[in-house]
Symmetry: C2
Subunit: 414 residues, 2 copies
Amino acid sequence: MGQQHQRSPLAPDSFPKLPGLPGLKIGVAATGMKYTGRPDVMLALLDPGSVIAATFTKSKTRSAPVDWCAENLPAGDVRAILVNAGNANAFTGTRGMRDVRTTASAVAKQTGCRPEEVYIASTGVIGEPLDAAQITASIQSMIQTAEPDDWQAAAQAILTTDTFPKAASATARLDGRTVTINGIAKGSGMIAPDMATMLAFLFTDAPLPARILQALLSQSVDRSFNCITVDSDTSTSDTVLLCSTGAKRDRPKGLRTHRDPRLEGFAKALDKVTSALSRLIVCDGEGAEKLITITVTGAESDIAARRIGLAIGNSPLVKTAIAGEDANWGRIVMAVGKSGEAADRDRLKISIGGHAVARRGQVVPGYDEARLEPHMQGRDIQIKVDVGIGKGRATVWTCDLTHRYIDINASYRS
Amino acid sequence: MGQQHQRSPLAPDSFPKLPGLPGLKIGVAATGMKYTGRPDVMLALLDPGSVIAATFTKSKTRSAPVDWCAENLPAGDVRAILVNAGNANAFTGTRGMRDVRTTASAVAKQTGCRPEEVYIASTGVIGEPLDAAQITASIQSMIQTAEPDDWQAAAQAILTTDTFPKAASATARLDGRTVTINGIAKGSGMIAPDMATMLAFLFTDAPLPARILQALLSQSVDRSFNCITVDSDTSTSDTVLLCSTGAKRDRPKGLRTHRDPRLEGFAKALDKVTSALSRLIVCDGEGAEKLITITVTGAESDIAARRIGLAIGNSPLVKTAIAGEDANWGRIVMAVGKSGEAADRDRLKISIGGHAVARRGQVVPGYDEARLEPHMQGRDIQIKVDVGIGKGRATVWTCDLTHRYIDINASYRS
């Protein structure tokens, strides 16, 4: 990190208390690879029979660990997740994959599983070779000190430019029993996930097969991690893993699809966790002073609504105006226009903080910007846009663009 | 503007001397609509028989003047161009088009042409109704004071957040005669033209029909204005007009297509003018301290190469790194990956300022970043990327992202 970054003003007051999750232990260690005086590597150990679902970055220059995880995913089995912070092992040529195999094999040997059951995620600087020996040297101590439910230590070990650890939890009723979903995430810059996300690790004890977990995860990621942006830049390393340790419990009988009505509660709980983690990532967006929630309705489709929302959320002009506490709605009009999605300029409706600003393609009669001032001065900015075409809708979260974003990124090597 | 912005450090030393262009007079005036103490409206008067070609923004929320020009373009005739700075007349409902008709009719009446031969461009704040009377009141004095070749006054009258006036010129041999192309442009923020551009007005005396001019202009805009970005935001008002006053001269005989070999010199001269104006817009990019030239080769097609170049040029992480004089090539890898275009990660080659940085998907052996420091500290940053797939190539221009961009946009209402 070089410099220490001040805790985001949008950070929650405290780390949440997560319920216990049977079948899982977590250890952390400090390798000294890049950071000093803090754990920078995490190992999650899962009971035999655990299954996994995942989504990854769509980047064409994705990292070696992402390649590795994507290769192993079809089998759906998982016994360990190893994560290091400080070096992304991305753009490291053939050596990158060799280093992944070395660390996965070391974990497999020491835990008695197959290397293919060890998932790896790396985050940090792009283009520097990883020192695999520094990681393998820490595995034994992580195994020995691993504890159930040490979520805060895990969430802290995976951070890079983040200023606070991120976790969320939810429970659901499934087939007459209560199941839990716990998740941790990291992410602060290079955030514009494309059908994938930054690092997030979700664990559940729900007794569901990998195929169903995968369908539920993909659906949930589309509404959460794929609806956030800090700076429109997409990482080489984005990875979301969802593991279930519930294999030893009875699975609901005759479950054929993720649309089975018995999964409704679980799907909602999963959405709750992925949305909460997504918002936490935006709240830790580099330099963020304000959380911006953009709700788009009236679009041709939900996908079109998301694209319009992201066009607004990625606009540096919209984001700097909000940093300046200026309700510059003309720039919202501009961003809708540049999205390329169908919009009826002459039926466009915009409201900010609940105040109608524009309708029927022009400013509302008697519009008084002074009434918006208290809202613009707050931390939580709400923008609603109806584009007057159809029924598509989406919510997108982003943060403002401040001087601190430039301070952080003109110096940090990531 | 509210505040005065300091002249860009990338501005040219002086305004260029443009050759005379027969058949054209230009007048300017100060309406006081938004700015005080400076001309903010320009009227170009063209001789009868002049023809026009144009490209416009692809924004779905484009302004009333853009709608007006696009409606009239198929006829290809032009007698006047009226431009005002300070109010974009965009998102102004049905009143917006009424105001355009009012001003076009006033010009037509006082110059003896049809309203449809009067092209209008407006730039400035979005969403505020225009005071058409302020503009019509200035028409008579602009007609009376119009002079041939007052390019500097014209280039100054159309500026908004720009810090210097922009012009370029070139001559070509056409069918045994010398013809001239003169152009002026404005643009500083909200710059990511999509098959169109910010305001640019090009004039030539080349005796070419509107259809051929249009084909040549579209081709040239694709290689110039469509290859620049300041902040990834696309304006509601982008307009490029190319007018020829050469109607009274003999047209080259048997000219059927813009690919006629006799047009080669003219096409090259046109590219020279559009490229020069495009670079001037980037050099006046809001907050710009460095001009960044990104050359992409080895892409699947020229279009793919441009998309990759724009992904690099739009990346806030790449742009802030360059502002910090940091040769952070890992972020270039990231941007190539997020473009979505085919790239072979393991054949990717990157050089900065002529120094090889990466090849075969990893950093070059013995890479020493200290050698790049003198280049990174200069004003003119050169990035070359070969993505190892095909023969597509493109050059894209952008500027760095500095604290001044935020200063300008957290306060200016545009």
